[in-house]
């Protein structure tokens, strides 16, 4: 018998960001026993870093007047380039206002409507005195109305802290510094996880009636990413490694237009939402030339491509870290910058040594969000295994399709947590926990053996950090904003080889206890599998849709590609298998996105 601590609960939630915590609250308030596992203390989760805001059609602000879930739905579907499930987008848009109000009730200090007049981008705005004190909204890319609720410059921080305060109040058990290594399953039902304590290195077994993966995205597969360093896609690859759970649309990778050069820390869309401009090396504001209507606030994929296109034309500012453009917020004034955009100002000063009150900010498109993830149905149930749920960025629910609108991800975490949390609770109340000790033992022994092989360098002496850098480079260079056949083929071939090599990693550190090199080594194969799914999906998809832009196939092709990629990794296989399923269209038939897509065909032609 192996030595390990064992824990049992009704619901096991992996990930203590906004999605995981909101689902935990829902299940706990329905009387269920919940354990949350987290790599880090919950308040350190990547949700805390989201500065921009959360979309919900409250319609309180003057520029949001007349807004409704119908318009929010339409924006979301258009933004997704018709790649989303419309019944999911509809459900989301309807529930978002309730979720925001509930967060206000729980304690989020949302910014509120202040009556009076101000000027924004040359337009007079009069806030209605009757709306004074209601939740305000700011402008965000790709939306017909101002709809993004926010707390000054710290939306994610305040919403996460408030959410976590409810978790603490409810007495929900959280095991932080705990990393999941695999799902315990028999090919049909998921019964929990094998995890490793990052304080001691000891293995643990958690069994539960339902297991929920809410571990966020995989940004760190790309070297240059705005994501926190914990965003390594661990929840996604443990699901993939079951062989029966598919990942949806992994090739849909979002690049944020404004990562600061060279640390790639995100400069939130709030900067452009509040009236910031993009300038080229001649200090010319170029976005109106490409997108006369939406300018800097076209959807993220469009702005990112326009920036890269403009740089390719020779208008980028040269730097040791590659060419970039400038973000200019100086005209917003010192007071506005130091209050409403304070976090941006701090990032500029502390990490790039520039003061945005007086200086231009160097920015370039940077990996930011993963639309793809564990494929679930509208109730958040993962395909392939009963008792397994997923939500938030880890999941492909799928309301974002091929491009997510700013402010929709943070909103998704809370809305999905509320809705799917309820489904999890209902499922769990009817379910029973029935898992054989032989099955648990088998899963634990597999992990023990893996750890021992790494420590003894039984399969080789490959360096985990070296492999990781190679993976980052392959993705960044060949599976980026502009994609085409040859680089994608190269990426697939290189990742194939890298996957083989990752099975030959050996440690230099000895791997005792909570050794950090061992933690990295235990992740690397799974991370490379995710990278492989991204590259293979992108190579197969011969069209451009949302963030997936093929220079050799610049048009969206609804006839052949209005479908979702499902990537499977059969146990023991050396490559992923791709399958497809139709996208659900309920209300809004495919059409023009209305901001830039009609002319993206020309984007590559005149580069």
């Amino acid at each position: 018998m192996s030595q390990y601590d064992r824990f049992t609960s009704d619901v096991l939630i992996v990930g203590a960001g906004l999605a995981g915590e909101r689902a935990a609250i829902e299940a706990a308030t329905q009387g269920l026993n919940v354990i949350i596992l987290s790599l880090v203390p919950p308040r350190r989760s990547h949700s805390s870093a989201a500065q921009g805001g959360m979309q919900a059609a409250l319609g309180n602000s003057a520029m949001g007047k007349g807004d409704s879930p119908d318009i929010h739905f339409a924006d979301t579907v258009k933004g997704s380039d018709w790649g989303c499930d419309q019944d999911v987008a509809r459900l989301f848009a309807e529930m978002a206002p309730v979720a925001m109000r509930q967060m206000a009730y729980w304690g989020v200090p949302w910014s509120r409507v202040v009556p009076g007049k101000r000027i924004y981008d040359g337009v007079d705005i009069h806030e209605d005195p009757e709306k004074e004190g209601l939740i305000a909204a700011r402008n965000f890319g790709g939306t017909a109305k101002w709809r993004t609720c926010y707390t000054a410059d710290g939306t994610g921080h305040t919403v996460l802290y408030t959410m976590d305060s409810v978790v603490i109040k409810l007495g929900i058990t959280v095991h932080d510094r705990t990393e999941v290594l695999s799902l315990i399953h028999d090919g049909e039902r998921c019964s929990g996880v094998v995890a490793r304590c990052l304080r001691t290195g000891n293995l643990r077994v958690y069994t539960a009636k339902s297991t929920v993966i809410a571990t966020g995205g995989y940004g760190r597969l790309y070297g240059a990413s705005t994501n926190a360093i914990i965003n390594e896609g661990s929840g996604m690859f443990v699901a993939l490694e079951t062989g029966v759970v598919p990942l949806g649309n992994m090739e849909a990778v979002q690049f944020h237009p404004t990562g600061i050069v060279p640390t790639w820390i995100l400069i939130t869309e709030g900067a452009r939402g509040d009236g910031g401009y993009l300038l080229d090396k001649d200090h010319h504001r170029f976005m109106p030339d490409y997108e006369p209507k939406k300018k800097e606030l076209a959807s993220r994929d469009v702005v990112s491509r326009r920036i890269m296109q403009h740089i390719r034309k020779g208008y980028g500012v040269e730097s040791p870290y590659g060419a970039h453009v400038w973000l200019d917020i100086r005209h917003l004034g010192e007071k506005h910058i130091n209050t409403n955009l304070r976090e941006i100002a701090n990032i500029c000063r502390n990490f790039a040594g520039v003061d945005p009150v007086h200086d231009l900010i160097p920015v370039r498109p940077t990996q930011h969000y993963s639309m793809g993830g564990i494929r679930t149905n509208i109730d958040g149930m993962a395909y392939g295994l009963t008792g397994l749920f997923s939500l938030g960025e880890a999941a492909c629910w799928d309301m974002h399709g091929f491009n997510r609108l700013g402010g929709n991800s943070l909103a998704e975490t809370v809305v999905a947590g509320m809705l799917i949390g309820d489904k999890i609770a209902k499922y769990t109340k009817e379910a029973s926990l029935n898992v054989s000790s032989a099955l648990i033992e088998e899963h634990v022994r597999f992990q023990e053996d893996r750890i021992q092989s790494l420590i003894e360098c039984r399969n080789g002496k490959e360096n985990v950090y070296q492999l990781r850098r190679e993976m980052e480079t392959i993705l960044s260079e060949n599976v980026g904003i502009f994609r085409s056949e040859e680089p994608l083929q190269k990426a697939v071939a290189q990742l194939h080889e890298l996957h083989q090599r990752s099975c030959q990693v050996g440690l230099r550190s000895g791997g005792k206890g909570a050794d950090p090199e061992l933690a990295s080594a235990l992740r690397i194969t799974g991370m490379i599998k995710l990278a492989y799914c991204i590259a293979a999906g992108a190579l197969a998809r011969k069209e451009s849709r949302g963030s997936h832009f093929r220079e050799d196939y610049p048009k969206r092709d609804d006839e052949n590609w209005l479908k979702r990629t499902l990537a499977y990794w059969p146990v023991g296989a050396d490559r992923p298998e791709l399958d497809y399923e139709p996208v659900k269209i309920t209300e809004l038939p495919p059409g023009d996105r209305g901001y830039g897509e009609a002319s993206t065909g020309a984007a590559s032609a005149n580069r």
Partner: protein, 242 residues
């Protein structure tokens, strides 16, 4: 920028192997343009000693994971540029918190305990009505709450606090600031006497001896001095009324 050679003196101790005594280990690294301690520590771990333990999450000054003593000063490692430091750099873990290994300390457990002790959530008798419009609040009040809510729980105020270093149960400036955040919030229905029970003690606001290192060390610039004064004033008055 001239290429300096940096010498790091890093505290090493693993509580899992208590027979190995704490020690300082020296690492030499070539400085690069724009190098932060996040970059430097990762380079040391990847190239020189892969057993080195330290914590980063957001690496952008938002999550509060990487508080440590940098040449004696408690601050965030992610946003410390090496160019602002001398060539000899000493890194120690934050005191007060439980040491997990090398530069990694357990701030998470400390702050969760503080949240429990100060009951850091909105106390209200009202129930949430999903069909009702949200309750109104002036934007000024919202911003005022946010000012106190900006604490990232990095622990720099606690690590540098003389009282916290000798009194294990002292909630420190972070705890007092947390209480101030809820006192300011009109949604929280606790009265002053209830707050007094939470912080009107020597482990709370009356334990502070006013050295104000917390205010100097807060990396996000929360006006802790003002928050301490605010809570102290309110609790002194509440104490009178008892």
């Amino acid at each position: 920028m001239s290429q300096r050679q940096l010498t790091f003196h890093i505290f090493r101790y693993n509580p899992e192997t208590p027979n190995q005594k704490p020690a300082t280990q020296t690492f030499v690294l070539q400085e690069e343009t724009g190098m932060t301690l996040f970059i430097a520590l990762n380079k040391i771990r990847e190239e020189q000693d892969s057993t080195l333990k330290f914590d980063f999450v957001c690496r952008a000054g938002i999550c509060g994971s990487c508080g440590m003593l940098i040449n004696g000063k408690p601050t965030l490692a992610c946003r410390t540029l090496t160019k602002d430091l001398p060539t000899d750099i000493t890194l120690m873990p934050l005191p007060v918190f439980k040491l997990l290994g090398d530069l990694s300390v357990d701030t998470g457990t400390w702050f969760r305990d503080m949240s429990l002790r100060t009951e850091a959530w909105v106390h209200t008798e009202k129930t949430f009505d999903p069909d009702a419009q949200e309750e109104r609040m002036s934007n000024e009040t919202a911003l005022h709450i946010y000012e106190a809510e900006r604490c990232i729980e990095c622990g720099c105020c606690i690590g540098g606090c003389a009282t916290a270093n000798i009194k294990p149960n002292f909630i420190g400036a972070a705890g007092v600031n947390r209480v101030a955040r809820f006192m300011l919030d009109p949604r929280d229905e606790r009265d002053e006497q209830e707050y007094f029970d939470v912080v009107g003690s020597e482990d709370g606001i009356f334990g502070c001896i006013g050295l104000m290192a917390c205010d100097d060390n807060c990396p996000v610039g929360i006006p802790l001095q003002g928050q301490l004064a605010y809570v102290r004033r309110k609790m002194a008055l509440a104490g009178w009324k008892r």
